[in-house]
Symmetry: C2
Subunit: 313 residues, 2 copies
């Protein structure tokens, strides 16, 4: 069986034709051009799905369904995109509209939830039926899988771990209205801010030198790889922030694994091994609770459309 998975981002749309095992028969990526508006985006998307079927040597009729991930507030049960700031969509009946235009079953979900499902079905989470997926990107996305299914909470409003508060003393307010949100400590933007503060305090460090041409989420890792103490200290604190939230989530959900995706997770073992070690030392503390794995996501940019396709499998 074949399914279309679509990951609509503010900048790019990624899509693929996928089989039941997550094999990608054909895929493409193109600019969203959100300023064209909802209808144009929808029609181009459907046209491109048809092209991808051609490429894969499939009749469009053979496609069993279309799954779509959207970066916003999505009521997946109703198939509605309640709000999506990146696309300027509000209350669009996406699943229904696609169904009416194509005659195919269509399901819609938040993009981070799709990526979580993709990693669980076909990626580095495939050995685990219970996992929490966290993307360490510009913002923080998260998805929760319980017993092999996406857990979204009432009105699909859960699985927003980035807005779990980890510092009640923190006075800076998040856009969500909460204070000390995990996101404001562990997103790429947060790491950049942490890096900039360290550079200001240590203007003679290698980190400062590396950051002269601009600061990104990678800067500290580049400097640390060359043995810079300032960079190491930024990373150590950052890892502490990530682990603190992961320990909180473990106390609530105790999943089998955390899967970390997003740009910063590309740093791999440097980032992931210390988190895994700290988490399991904490778990070992009481001696009775099972070990929790921490792994990097493995599907990269394809996780979203693979998971979207899995919505209709």
């Amino acid at each position: 069986m074949y399914y279309a998975g679509v990951d609509i981002g503010g900048k790019n749309v990624k899509m693929g034709i996928v089989d039941d095992f997550g094999n990608i028969a054909s895929s493409m990526e193109y600019k969203t051009q959100m300023e064209r508006g909802y209808d144009a985006i929808l029609l181009e998307m459907i046209g491109n799905i048809k092209s991808l079927c051609d490429q894969a040597g499939l009749e469009f009729e053979e496609l069993r369904g279309i799954g779509i991930g959207v970066p916003g507030i999505v009521n997946s049960r109703a198939g509605l995109v309640m709000s999506c700031a990146n696309l300027n969509w509000k209350g669009v009946d996406l699943a229904n509209d696609v169904q009416n235009l194509t005659g195919k079953v269509c399901k819609v979900c938040n993009d981070a939830n799709c990526a979580a499902l993709g990693e669980q079905r076909f990626g580095s989470g495939r050995n685990y039926k219970n996992l929490v997926f966290i993307t360490l990107g510009t913002g923080i996305g998260s998805g929760i899988i319980i017993d092999g299914n996406l857990f979204e909470g009432l009105g699909c409003a859960g699985a927003e771990a980035g807005h779990m508060g980890i510092c009640i003393d923190d006075e800076s307010e998040c856009a969500c209205g909460n204070k000390g949100c995990w996101e404001s400590y562990i997103s790429a933007s947060a790491l950049v801010a942490q890096t900039k503060r360290a550079v200001q305090k240590n203007p003679n460090s290698l980190l400062a030198q590396i950051c002269e041409d601009g600061v990104s989420g990678k800067s500290v890792f580049i400097a640390a790889a060359q043995g810079d103490a300032t960079a190491n200290s930024v990373i150590e604190k950052y890892i502490g922030y990530v682990t603190y939230g992961i320990i909180g989530l473990t106390n609530i959900l105790h999943p089998q694994a955390f899967v970390l995706g997003g740009g910063i997770a590309n740093e791999g073992a440097t980032l992931i091994l210390p988190i895994k070690k700290m988490l399991n030392e904490y778990i070992d503390n009481n001696g009775f609770y099972p070990y929790v794995d921490v792994v990097g996501a493995s599907l990269g940019n394809s996780a979203g459309f693979l998971g979207a396709a899995a919505l209709v499998m």
Copy 2:
């Protein structure tokens, strides 16, 4: 059908014979006397269940099963009590032992999880299939119900919301090994400590006067009822701590309701209404997420054994 529910505490055992609707046919409470050891506690428990059957006019044979709540680390799937400091039990095969001694199906669960299930089936959570139960007692217990069933996580190690960290800057270490645990802000012991600090700073307050004969979790509420500003400020901060964790849990689980039990929750509306208001103002912030109810537990000391009985229904 009738079931026995038992709530074994460090000090007292509460038990009842319960029907499918949570009606209590007979019940009793007696001293645990944990120093007698496991076997003696077990045999007395079974004897007392038989007496309760008599009292209810039932044959012991009519009993469909025995559910037991224990204040410790319980693997409910295996029926094992891994560790229970209050009873000095370690690795006891409780469900099996009771089954062998009585011929009845027996299930065992953590006591807070039992109370959560009790409130969800028969108490103030009965309108909700998805809820989080929090006991504001000497320590913090919590239970999570998803789609009408207890959610316990891998190895039954989840649903320990008291150890979710809410203040990464807090240097004081919890027994669990984490820092800034929610429990250390919202337990009755924490509220007593907060009260004592306020009294020290405001020795001329009404609160200070009331606390002269001793401080309990009730002291601030008594003083606040008489209009004491110091007490009001302690309560306001305490409510902030409770709500901060509830907002974190909402971002993860978005349940239909939070049910608050334990000694402090007996304060009722004074405590619960402001939490409910703050939580839903936060939720309203994005305009798309559903309202979450906050209610006081209604079963009091019977929640544990009612929920334990529900384990075998």
